[in-house]
Structures are given as C-alpha cells and as structure tokens.
C-alpha cells in the first residue's frame, strides 16, 4: 500500500524501556541518523539511579528523548510527540509527559498480567480505554523480532535483545531517517560476533519493513534539514565536549595535561574520555579519593602541567581545602564540577545548579577563584578552553560548573578549526627576577597580577612555597598584619581583574522592558521561552552569564537598563542573591529544584506574567 507522507517542522520522541532494553543505544542511533539528515537536534537521556533495578519496575525505567527540527532548537522538548514503550513500566512512567494525541508504540509482548501487576495496573491500559486520547500502536516487538531471526544461529536471548533494533527500524521508517550509519555501526559494534551483527541488521530491517507494510501506520513523516551555519558537524554530549576541550587546551598551551579524578556520577565520563587521549600527553590518575584527585592535579600543575580534576558537588566539598591551597600557591588548576541534585548524595542522576554558592564561597578564609559555566553540551568545549585560559594566564584555580543535564544531553556541534582556537601558550620563569639577582616567587606581573610559574628543574629558581601566608614578593613565611591584609586584597584583585568578555543581550527589537538573566544549562529553556513570547508579540530580553566570577564589566549597566530582571535557576536563588547584593537590583528569582531542567512552557507562562505586568 502507498503511504501518505506528511511534513513536520519538529518532533520529540522518547524511547523508554527497562534499563536492560538498550534504550540509550537506540536513542543514540536514532539521533545519529537524524544528525546525518541535517536536522537540528537536542537530546536528553534519563537513567535510573540503580545500575540494574529489578526488571519491569518503575525504578528500572531508562529513557532517551530526542528533539529534532528543521529550525534551530534549544531544548530536548517539553512534551514528547511519540513514546516508544517497551513494557508497562515504561508506559506508566512516561505517559504523564506526553502531549494529548501523541503516538504511543507499545511492545505488547511485555503487557502480561504479571508485568501489569508489577507496576500496579489493575486493568490492561491497552484495552481499558484509558489511552483513547492517544494514537496507540500495539506492536508485538519481541515476538516479531524473534520470528524475523528464526534462521540465525543465535541464542533466543540474543534474538530477543535485538528487539530494540526492530523498534529503531520502525521509527527510522516512520520518520524517513537514513539507515546506513546504523547498519555500519552494528557491524562495528558486533565485529567479534558476525552472526549477532547480521541478526541485529536483520531486526532493524524487519522493523523498517514492518512500517512499510502494516496498516497500522498510515502516515510517514519528514522533517527537512535545518538551516544551520555551514561546516562539519558531529553530535556531542557535554561531558565528551568538556573532555575534548581539555585535550585541546593542552595542545594549544603546549603543556602536558594531568587529570586526577575519583569516579562519581555524573562526571565519570570525563575521566573515561580523557583516559583515551594519552597520545596528546594527557595522563589520567584515578586517585584513592576526591582529595587525592585534586592533590595529584595540583602536584602536576606545580611541575608545569595543566592540572585538572573532575567531579560533582560532593567531590568539590572534599576538595575545598586543596582549592584554598591552590589559591595560596597561585598555581593554575581546573576544577570541573558536573553538578547534581544535593545535598549529600541527593539524586546523583538528576540535575541541579545548586553548587554556585559553594563555588563562590565554599572555602575557608578569603579564597576567591574564577568561575565559569557552559550553557549547552557543545558549549562545554569552548568553556573548557576559556577556563584553561584563565587558569594559565592568572595562575589561579578555576571552577567550571557544568551539570547533569548538559553533561549527558547532546546537540550538534560545529567543529572548530584547530588553528582558530585560542593560543594558550605560557612562559615559565627561567631567570631570577629580583634586584639582587635573587628569585622572587611572588613578584607579580603588573598587568595580570599573576606570579611567575617557576617549575622544579629550573636552575637558580629554587624556592619554597606553601599554605602559610607569604610575604609579598619574596614568598617567605609572614605573619605581618599589613602584609596579610595586602596579600588578601591582592589575591582578590587578581581575580577581580580577570579580563572577561562583556555579556551580550538578546533583545531583537530593542523594546523589551523585562530581562531574563540566566547561567549554565538553563540557557536552552530560557531561550526557547523568550522566542515563543516574542513570536506572540511580547518583547523580552535574554542575557546569559558564562563568567560568574568575575562577572562581566557591563553587567551592572545591562541590568539597570531594564524595568524588571528575572532570574530562573535550578536552585533556591543563588545567582539572584549575588545579583541583588552586588548590583542592588530587585531581581525576581524563579526557582525550581526537581532534579529536572525547566520546561520552556513553564518559563514562558511565568515570564508572560512578568512581561504583562511590567
């Protein structure tokens, strides 16, 4: 039968199943096919906290959401248009998020009495009419896959496991996705087991053909490529982009990189990724604890490497004393905090941006450090380079605040030309700098207030540094009151004096009276909300901070140019508090700490109120 083809401008699909069903892989492959087509994309994986929660239960549900469009998009989408539910738990856990009328594809083989009971369905939702408001597509995914693979010499288990490829084939058909990259991928992935590779390919094709032939699917959709700047692209997650940014920083600084890390969700992928790039002179040390992890990084910085440590909030808390030491030693150090919901263990797989206050103030004594935050997955690459620039130029610890949302989420990344990346080369001290031919380790560069980086091995510059207060210039131990006052102020001035670009304001018509100020991963939902408001004729301006310490010089003037300033944050108002006290602005804090990113829709309705009443 010939199928109707309908054009769409955007689609949000959520793949959901048991954590053993391969939903992350399925979503990933669909994303890759979609990228090949030139759509703009944004993805959001959602893992269960337990590695293997009991099969078929609500806590065991793993999902992957992909939003793709023929225009540039900013978020993974608020409400899915399509749900692929591999079992009753996946249906139950995700149904509430769908838009009315959404397509639901369910694996009917899993809708057994027992599985229904496991998640508390008294009646089968596929039959009791409760899904009447949706376009339900019951598909016997498992049994059809097994039947399609009858002639393969593989175990029943391997055959059943290929059901995710059947589902992917079906979705690829539905949305007219090119399948070559997935077929290539399967051959690579199962290179050691050619029979399994062939079976997965066959399952994929069976799913594709099923779409073509079954009468249940009457429409096929197309989403045209988005108009994006010309260039070479790849899809990238925030953690991978961060790791590549660190590699690039080492190459552009012509310095070895040493990452000290202790495994922690959701930052471990940075350690995994960096451990693959030894040929660039990147050493990774999986330390015995968070404190040792930053210790080895600092030791490497002392020796002339770019020392980096990656962790999440609980790890930063443990590292705080060593960060203070780095403040006193005035050595470059990059601390990556992939924030997660706290306090304490909190919700490790859920996102939050509640470590800003800790980054700003979480140390003993007056111990300011530079702080920067990426705004999206691909932006993590540039943010890592910028953090390295500040650390190396100003000889200071820099805290980079990513979060679980951008760490695991992905988007297309236009590949930069390496030659155009910032030049981060540094000069080590090589000669005595004192008037009497002595070496003064705390004699500062007048422009940056940075002290010389004199690495062990340099003859004639032998010197001792430490955590005790140091005398200006000589670095000798000093308890002199005036000296301490001077050094505290000088360290603060060095951070305050870091050159950071002005904050840009997005106010297309220039007539907005309300400014939305954000930082970090809220960029996407805030941007999407602002766009939507403007389309409805409600003017609103957006500014987003990359540099949180020091803040851009023009920020005060920007804030004062608007009648109202709204600050949405996934915390209880940490940036808002800083802005209020620093600029004496009566900012409106809009806060949510649900472990989830804001939806564009909720921000839009909140902002609408503010704009209308401004």
């Amino acid at each position: 039968m010939t199928k109707q083809v309908r054009q769409l401008d955007r689609v949000v699909i959520r793949f959901a199943g048991d954590s053993g069903d391969g939903m992350q892989l399925t979503g990933d492959r669909f994303t890759s096919e979609t990228a090949q087509l030139g759509n703009d994309i944004s993805t959001l994986p959602n893992f269960p906290a337990e590695i293997r929660a009991p099969a078929g239960t609500l806590p065991g549900v793993s999902s992957f959401q992909v939003h793709f469009a023929d225009f540039d998009i900013l978020t993974p989408g608020d409400t899915p248009d399509v749900l692929v539910a591999m079992n009753p738990a996946a249906l139950k856990a995700n149904l509430g998020d769908l838009r009315p009328g959404a397509d639901i594809i369910v694996n009917t083989d899993e809708f057994t009495k027992r599985n229904l009971a496991k998640v508390g369905y008294a009646d089968d939702p596929l039959e009791d009419g409760s899904l009447d408001g949706y376009a339900l597509h019951p598909v016997a995914l498992t049994s059809m896959t097994v039947r399609a693979l009858e002639n393969f010499e593989i175990s029943k288990k391997d055959a059943e496991r290929a059901k995710n490829m059947f589902a992917l084939g079906l979705l690829s058909w539905m949305y007219s996705r090119p399948s070559e990259s997935t077929l290539r991928f399967l051959e690579r992935k199962f290179a050691a087991r050619p029979e399994v590779a062939a079976a997965n390919v066959a399952a994929f094709k069976a799913g594709f053909n099923f779409g073509e032939t079954t009468e249940d699917f009457v429409v096929r959709y197309e989403v045209k490529p988005a108009k994006m700047p010309a260039g070479e692209y790849r899809n990238i997650t925030g953690n991978t982009a961060l790791a590549l940014g660190v590699v690039a920083a080492g190459v552009r600084a012509k310095l070895p990189v040493l990452l000290g890390a202790y495994p922690i969700t959701p930052a471990s992928d940075i350690l995994h990724e960096l451990s693959k790039h030894k040929k660039f002179g990147v050493t990774t040390v999986q330390a015995e604890d968070e404190i040792a992890a930053i210790g080895v990084a600092l030791g490497a910085s002392y020796g002339g490497a770019l020392g980096v440590t990656s962790t999440s909030g609980p790890g930063v808390a443990l590292k705080s004393e060593t960060i203070s030491l780095a403040v006193a030693l005035e050595l470059p150090l990059l601390i990556i905090d992939v924030q997660r919901a706290g306090p304490s263990t909190g919700m490790p797989t859920k996102t939050e941006q509640a470590d800003l206050a800790m980054a700003l103030h979480g140390r003993h004594g007056e111990a300011p450090v530079a702080i920067i935050a990426p705004r999206s997955p691909a932006d993590c690459f540039d943010a890592a380079l910028e953090a390295a620039r500040i650390a190396l130029t100003y000889r200071t610890p820099v805290i980079l605040l990513s979060d679980g949302y951008i760490a695991n989420g992905s988007e297309p990344w236009r590949l930069p030309a390496v030659a155009e990346l910032p030049d981060l080369r540094v000069e080590f001290a090589s000669e005595p700098n004192g008037p009497e031919g002595q070496f003064l380790p705390y004699l500062r560069d007048p422009a940056t207030l940075a002290r010389p980086w004199a690495v062990p091995g340099t003859p004639g510059l032998e010197h001792r540094i430490g955590g005790l207060e140091k005398a200006d210039k000589t670095g000798d131990i000093s308890y002199d009151p005036a000296n301490h006052d001077f050094m505290v102020r000088t360290r603060a001035a060095r951070i305050e004096g870091i050159e950071v670009p002005d904050v840009e304001v997005d106010d297309p018509d220039g007539d907005a009276r309300v400014l939305v100020l954000g930082w970090g991963s809220t960029y996407g939902p805030i941007g999407a909300a602002c766009r939507s408001l403007r389309q409805r004729g409600l003017p609103v301006a957006q500014a987003h901070l990359r540099h949180l310490n020091p803040m851009p010089r023009n920020l005060g003037a920007v804030l004062k140019a608007y009648d109202r300033v709204v600050i949405p944050e996934m915390n209880l108002g940490q940036l808002a508090g800083v802005i209020r006290s620093k600029y004496l602005i009566d900012a409106i804090a809009y806060n949510q700490v649900r472990g989830l990113p804001f939806t564009a829709a909720e921000l839009e309705s909140m902002l609408e109120e503010v704009v209308k009443n401004a």
Binding site: A35, G38, P225, M228, A230, G231, E232, Y233, R234, L244, A248, V251, P256, L258, G260, H277, K278, K279, F280, G281, T283, V285, A287, E288, D289, I291, A292, G295, V296, A297, L298, G299, A300, S301, Y302, G303, G304, A305, G307, E321, T322, L325, L329, L415, A417, V418, A419, P456, G457, T458, P459, G460, E462, H463, R464, I465, G466, G467, L468, I477
Partner: protein, 352 residues
C-alpha cells in the same frame, strides 16, 4: 666526592655541592633540642652525595613540626596541607620523572589525617622517598596523643589516658606492600644517612620511619634506644645477609619458633648457629619483614632498625609513563593536526 646512585630519571652528575648549598636562607624554627635539627643536618650533608642538582630535588610536606622541613632546604619545596603531601607528590612525580621527589611527614600527618594517601602511594609504588618523623605525639598543636602514642598515653586531650591502640608504622607500610621499608633514629647520623642512601637508590616508594625526639611534649620517648647503657640491649641492627643477633656481646638472637608463625628473640647461647635468622631484605613475601616489625615489646625492647624490606616491583611512574610513551609514539602528525582528527572523529556530517 662520594656518589650514591639515585632513582631519579637521569644519571648522577659530578657536582661540586656541599651541605652548605642545601641550606636555605630561612631561620630554622624548631624548639631548641628538637630531634628535627639532627635530621635536617644529616639530610643537608647527605644530599650532595646523591649527585642530583638542587633544582631537580623537591621536598613536599604536609602539616606538623616535621613539615617545616622543606623551608630549610635550598631545593624546590612545597609545604602543603595536612596529610596530603603523598597525593601532591604523586602528581608531581608521575608527571616529572626527571625529579627526585621526597615527602616529609609526621605520625599525625601520615598516619592520622593522611593515612589513606600514604597507603595508596605505597601500594602504587610511586617513586617517592617518604620520611616519616615519628615522635609519637602532636607537637605543633601542643601535645595531644598521636596515632603512634602508646595505649593509655596521658596528654592534654587524654587526661586519664588514651583509649586507642597505636599503629606500628612499619607494619602498616608492609601491609600496604611497600617495596622499601626502613627505620632509623634521629640521633644516629651514620645510620640515618646509610638508610637515606638506600632509600634514594630504591626505585619506587621508599618508606623510612625516623624515630624523632620531641623534647617538649614527649621527651625521651626513644631514650632506651639511644642511651649507651641500654641501647645494645634494646636495638636490633638489621644488616642484609647477616645473622640477626644483638646485645652487648651478641647474646640475643632472632629465630623462627618451630611450628608457629612469626619470629622470636632468644638467647644466642641456647640455640644452634643455624637456627639464627639471617636477615634478607629482598624476601618477596612481606610476611618475613612483617614478623620483624612485630618484635618490639611495649618498652621498646627488641626494636629493629635498618632496612626491613627492599624488593623490586614495577613502579607507578614507569608504568604510567610507558603507557603514555606508547601512545605518543602513535602520534604521527603535529599535535594540532591530530587534534583536528580527534575532533572530526565519529559520525560527522557536513552542512553546506
């Protein structure tokens, strides 16, 4: 000038250095009479013989009286934070194989707040020389008991006696499978320097416990090991390849008790010569050295000093470096070009 071997990257070079060259311009600020002075002087006069230029020698310390050590040596040095010196030194050592990296620590610094870093650097066998000044007390904070103070120790924080048993640092290091473990005494310069020499020659972690007198808060803690009238009876001097006997006239010896674990001290006259244990620091199993470490009595009788264990095991620095070198050998083009390839890897697509 005598030249010792050293475990830092390059071969020793003939340098005309003297003890004076290793003195910094800082005024030394330990209490008069503190055992640290003797250790510092021994170190300053020992360092020249290593043949390592001053700039390639680095001392990293934590917090405590002993941790002031780096300030007084005219080498590179870092006085870091409490307990963390082994971690910081690990980062330095692994990224700079050309340096000779020493850690100076104390019983509180290494065994209390920094216990974790100590055992992990030992198990990794990082190329560090770790000198633990053990005075069995907290000196800098003015006299609380430490993790090596004897049970029942009366101090400011334990007015009716401490309720926790001490660590035996040598046993602890051996438990972490340290490849070089030794003990020496602050006042015995010759022995101290000979142990330092062997530590410096060792490739991998060298752990040296130095009994150090804190004359202010725990004076005389090791007096029986120093006093000429008692020391021969109390101290067992370990010498590789020699039967273990001690006492003024060698009247005591160490033997394997038949049918039991461990070692015991017996009267030499009562055992046949072949029953006396011949010290072998290179025994692969740490159990032998561990048994030696258990010999001392509560009153310090039967305290072995010298090198308990010196064995070869791959060290962390070399293993990490060889992985790095192997990977770097695969770098065909300029790093910039390789970086460009890396960024362009995976599924990419072009937008025209």
């Amino acid at each position: 000038m005598h030249e010792a071997k050293n475990s830092a990257g390059a071969a020793p070079v003939a340098l005309k250095l003297t003890a004076k060259d290793f003195k910094s311009d800082q005024e030394v600020r330990w209490c008069p009479g503190c055992g640290d002075y003797a250790i510092l002087a021994a170190m300053q006069s020992f360092l020249p013989e290593l043949g390592i230029p001053r700039e390639r020698t680095v001392f990293v310390s934590g917090i405590g009286c002993s941790s002031r050590f780096p300030y007084y040596l005219n080498t590179y040095g870092m006085h870091s934070i409490h307990g963390r010196a082994p971690a910081i030194a690990t980062g330095l050592s692994v990224s700079r194989p050309d340096l000779s990296v020493w850690v100076v620590t104390g019983d509180g610094d290494a065994l209390s707040i920094g216990g974790n870093h100590l055992i992990h650097s030992l198990r990794r066998n990082v190329n560090l020389k770790i000198l633990l000044f053990n005075n069995k007390i907290y000196g800098l904070t003015k006299g609380q008991y430490s993790p090596t103070s004897e049970l029942g120790k009366v101090t400011k924080s334990t007015p009716v006696g401490s309720a926790d048993s001490p660590f035996n640092p040598i046993s602890l290091a051996l438990g972490a499978e340290a490849t070089f473990v030794a003990r020496t005494i602050d006042s015995d310069r010759k022995h101290l320097q000979s142990v330092l020499r062997q530590a410096a020659e060792h490739k991998g972690s060298a752990f040296v416990e130095i009994y150090q007198n804190c004359n202010i808060f725990n004076d005389g803690a090791f007096e029986v090991l120093k006093d000429p009238s008692t020391r021969d009876e109390y101290v067992i001097r370990l010498q590789h390849g020699q039967p273990i006997t001690f006492g003024k006239d060698g009247e005591w010896c160490v033997t394997h008790p038949p049918g039991a674990f461990g070692l015991e001290v017996r009267r030499t006259a009562e055992v046949s010569a072949d029953e006396v244990v011949v010290h072998d620091a290179t025994v692969a199993e740490p159990a032998y050295a561990f048994a030696l470490s258990r010999l001392p009595e509560g009153d310090l009788r039967n305290t072995p000093i010298g090198v308990f264990r010196a064995v070869d095991r791959p060290n962390y620095d070399d293993l990490v470096r060889s992985q790095l070198d192997e990977a770097k050998a695969k770098l065909v083009g300029e790093p910039e070009a390789e970086l460009s390839n890396l960024l362009n890897s995976g599924d990419t697509w072009a937008i025209l």
